[in-house]
Symmetry: C2
Subunit: 145 residues, 2 copies
């Protein structure tokens, strides 16, 4: 799945892509950068950061009706399971210079957080509970249209 | 400077404000979240993450002509020195649930990074070298207009 040559790598899950971000290692530190509407396919209205997740915990387990998300593991590692109803793929994020794009209607969870993991998520919409799909069958019906 | 009651705390430096972000501590981890155009006074075009900065290094040391920035220390601590030409203030960021807003024309540097510090910066513009002010006297002249 990983490629140093190609900035965007497709997965087997519909519309889910892995994006290389800019990275500069300098004597004064490491800098990684992402541009919205460029490497990242949308402009965010919201971000959130998740940390301190127990190794056995599974987060997510929902899809979004309209919200696009972009996940960057800033520290440590986390595995994202993405499911379009036909294909399921596990993508392990362990590099702050790459991000995973999840379009709407993709069912996803995040699991196997390392103890030091910090996950940064950008969302194209503000939080709205009605925008979440928490029924897996419903997400499958919607994506098949 | 810190206040749990007020979500936005002013500093002595013109337009520089410290913003409380939403924070939820759950059995499945800690979540902190920020909304653009709400708690954060702009929508970003870009973000960058700085880590691995030596304790003696000073980063920044410039102002921006048009770019707004919002700094969040996700891990560890870092001190921001902000200067409007009349007032100088040091603000130590050590909490992922707060962010520092720097408007254009404010001269700033970041120093005293802890060894584990991770600094997340949102910028309202894409990177453009011409938009940086690297001459302190010029930034002072511009801000006094």
């Amino acid at each position: 799945l990983r490629s140093a040559d190609s900035p965007v790598v497709t997965t087997t899950v519909r519309g889910v892509t892995l994006h290389r971000l800019a990275r500069a290692s300098e004597p004064r530190g490491l800098l990684v950068a992402g541009e919205f509407d460029r490497q990242i396919p949308f402009v965010p209205k919201r971000y959130f950061i998740v940390s301190g997740v127990p190794a056995t915990a599974v987060r997510g387990n929902h899809a979004h009706r309209t919200c696009h998300q972009f996940l960057v593991c800033i520290r440590g590692s986390v595995t994202v399971v993405a499911d379009d109803g036909a294909m399921v793929e596990e993508i392990t994020l362990d590099n702050p210079a790459e991000g995973l794009y999840l379009p709407p209607l993709i069912w996803a969870d995040q699991r196997r957080y390392s103890s030091d993991a910090i996950l940064l998520v950008f969302a194209s919409d503000y939080y709205e509970e009605a925008e979440y799909i928490r029924d897996r069958d419903e997400s499958r019906r919607l994506i098949e249209r």
